[in-house]
Symmetry: C2
């Protein structure tokens, strides 16, 4: 799991020491001896982690960090600032510049390696989610995904598991004063694990010593291994103040740690940066999902499209053949839809298609497939539905459209009807194309016979 | 990073010992005292890793493993078999049943934890790629992705970095006798890292001691951290026969290890199972990519669709506004296309659309956007192209269609022409909808003036 680390320091000896340590652990080390060089190497080599000295002759570490974090090419690279003093003020300044963590000189090996392992893990996950491969870049897929809109994101939630109620109260106050989040607390180990999946927090602040003798390390580990909370941010509060515990916390899956006692501002800033990272990974995941949805969903009606319908229908058929059951295939067409578009305009036409889709979905079972095949044509496939069930269902669908007029934007109402053609599939009549053709033939008959009718394919009629 | 481990053993003491060890390291332990119970718990709880005893009263470990690996719900869960003897025959039998590794009783802690960490890492990556979240399942996205076809997968490649040429030769022979793969060897550490990215191997067999004093551990680490080889399978050959080195190899990123000297069959079986895992993860990644491609590509012509075009056009506009440059927007329409469809049929129509798309793409620059907006309507957006450049380009596109007749399936030829409307965008005329409307107006004029013409939007003309 090692990776490429850029070591930035103007003192050659410091670089040498770090390089020796990291190389022994098989990390690949790049070097830069000043801020400008650091920016150049970071952009050219895109390392996995950057260890950045604060005091440098040309540009100081805070400024380098700020520049790295504001450039789209390097903003995702984790930065660990290496400081001589390690005052809370300095840490907060660094965190505000976008730093992911701090190491104090002389560097403790345990702290160094635990942090580097943690950042490497996060980086690999992001790399995977960002689809940084050549095909995706060539296709413009990454750009496309990043352009998707997520303005509906709600307020974030933070859960607190403090050592006692008093401390929990002070954490809550600092957080609520500075961040626009909802705080849930004060929870014991057991309660923290049993939060309903409906209100899972975005971030957990978990103290090593918890109320009711809870074990913070055990909670971190449990949260990280449960699928529902695997993606949450976890800020681990080291109660005993040792580097060993901090390293243990990171290895068990904490996203970040903070040494107690701490400046409340440091808690706020670290939490803010973890929430930001969490939001970014959530967005990458939902971009992926939304992108994929677009491949299978008709944008106007929200129904599945023809591509998905074809694929899903073949699954329904396979299952029916296996269980020797029957299933039914319906093609449905809006009657005289061209007239709606031509006389009332495309907006009215779109509204009719949407409302019709809504009614169709309301009148089928959960297992049924409803899809828009194009234009004003819809497909419904019902597993385990022979002629008797299909007849009732088709009639219900037809009348759900006819029974209530559609209300247009203008407030006017419009009577709409559909014609339906049905074919019954079985182990001996199980070719998807054939069945769609049969349903289509039945549909033509329904149209010929005056529309607003359900008609069955002849051989089954 | 701990997780949930199912311990299967009919002897209570054995379960107790393992549970104690694992719990101290904060793993969550589930138990089963026989093969049937193991299958039941595995299906219900879907643990992250299964430690499976071989000798059991009801069903033995091999059979349990086979059943787990053949059920779609549990096939992705890593299985480590725990044996008393650890003979090569037993190992090969286990590997053939689908086991991921072996531990010999009494269990060495180092070997146990290194292996569990490694399997947990692999499992988490798969979980991420399998999109196992509720939304994806509800949308049927996972099913949809799994239905995609990848029949064009070629022969797999294996790279060998043996301790010497003689041994390399024997590895190669065993592999080629048993697996249908291409073998590259015998490579030194430096050569292995410099393989051209065009022929990157699917799997590496890396010996701890390599030729020219190479360090196998360093190579494992380097391969795992390079983005190009991060996804490759790495089988690490432990030359010094110690558990410490094996554990080190796994922690540095090896997918599996084998202790030298080994039975050639064990090499083959382990390699086969790593190649299978690699193929599975490649497929998950390409499913994702292909699924996303479908969201942005018009299936008939392979051009970008309207959705992608709109998004990409706004990017081109942003850049032009920033650099105060000009850009051009062309709407293009096949002349009298309805006639082609009505008289020659839809197949001929589709062929014309495809050939036309090919010619358009051949006659634009790499930075230009070509998209099918629907039916017989196409959009071309050219960054950094003012009136002068646009006029030449539009004329070139128009004549590329007219100049050579289209050849139909029947062998007959067909003369096809297009009309083109062009609008010039700039910082003060930069609304995407407006520009498309302007290009559309120009297009109507080209049609009015007799078709097969390029026309510019009036205000720019």
């Amino acid at each position: 799991m090692p990776g490429r680390i850029l070591v930035v320091d103007d003192v050659a000896t410091n670089r040498l020491i770090l390089k020796a340590k990291l190389s022994t652990a098989y990390y690949d080390v790049l070097e830069a001896d000043c801020g400008n060089k650091a920016l150049e190497v970071a952009h050219r080599e895109l390392p996995d982690v950057i260890l950045l000295d604060v005091m440098m002759p040309d540009i100081d570490g805070f400024e380098v960090c700020k520049q790295l974090k504001s450039s789209p090419e390097t903003s995702h690279i984790p930065v660990v600032m290496v400081t001589a003093m390690g005052s809370p003020e300095e840490r907060i300044r660094g965190l505000n510049a976008g730093a992911d963590d701090f190491l104090t000189k002389p560097i403790n090996d345990l702290a160094l390696f635990a942090r580097v392992r943690n950042l490497m893990r996060v980086k690999m996950m992001f790399d995977e989610l960002r689809m940084r491969d050549t095909t995706s870049r060539e296709m413009g897929l990454s750009d496309f995904l990043e352009s998707l809109d997520h303005s509906d994101e709600g307020q974030e939630t933070v859960m607190l598991s403090p050592p006692d109620c008093e401390i929990g109260k002070s954490w809550r106050e600092s957080i609520l004063e500075n961040l626009d989040v909802k705080v849930i607390g004060t929870l014991s180990e057991r309660e923290a694990l049993n939060i309903s999946s409906l209100e899972l927090p975005d971030a957990y602040v978990v103290s090593q010593n918890m109320m009711e003798n809870g074990d913070g390390l055990r909670l971190v580990s449990a949260l990280r291994s449960k699928p529902e909370t695997r993606q949450s941010a976890i800020l681990f509060v080291v109660s005993d103040g040792t580097v060993e515990t901090a390293a243990r916390g990171l290895d068990l899956g904490a996203s970040d740690y903070i040494m107690a006692p701490f400046d409340p501002n440091e808690l706020v800033v670290r939490l803010r940066s973890q929430l930001r990272r969490k939001k970014y990974s959530d967005r990458l995941r939902s971009n992926m999902r939304d992108g994929l949805k677009m491949a299978v969903i008709d944008p106007l009606t929200g129904l599945y499209n023809r591509r998905y319908a074809t694929q899903h229908m073949s699954k329904i058929i396979d299952r029916a053949v296996e269980s020797k059951g029957e299933f039914s295939v319906m093609m449905m067409d809006l009657d005289r839809f061209k007239l709606v578009n031509d006389t009332l305009g495309h907006d009215a036409g779109d509204l009719v298609l949407k409302e019709l889709s809504r009614r169709l979905q309301e009148n089928v079972r959960g297992v049924d497939l409803v899809a828009r095949m194009g234009g004003e044509e819809f497909l419904v496939v019902m597993p385990d539905a022979g002629r008797f069930v299909a007849e009732k269902a088709a009639e219900r669908l037809r009348s759900s459209i006819e029974s209530e007029p559609f209300i247009l934007k203008s407030g006017d109402t419009l009577s709409v009807t559909v014609s339906v053609g049905v074919a019954i599939g079985s182990a001996i009549n199980c070719d998807a194309d054939d069945l769609i053709k049969q349903a289509d033939q039945a549909l033509y008959r329904a149209k010929d016979n005056g529309r607003n009718l359900v008609s069955f394919f002849a051989s089954a009629a």
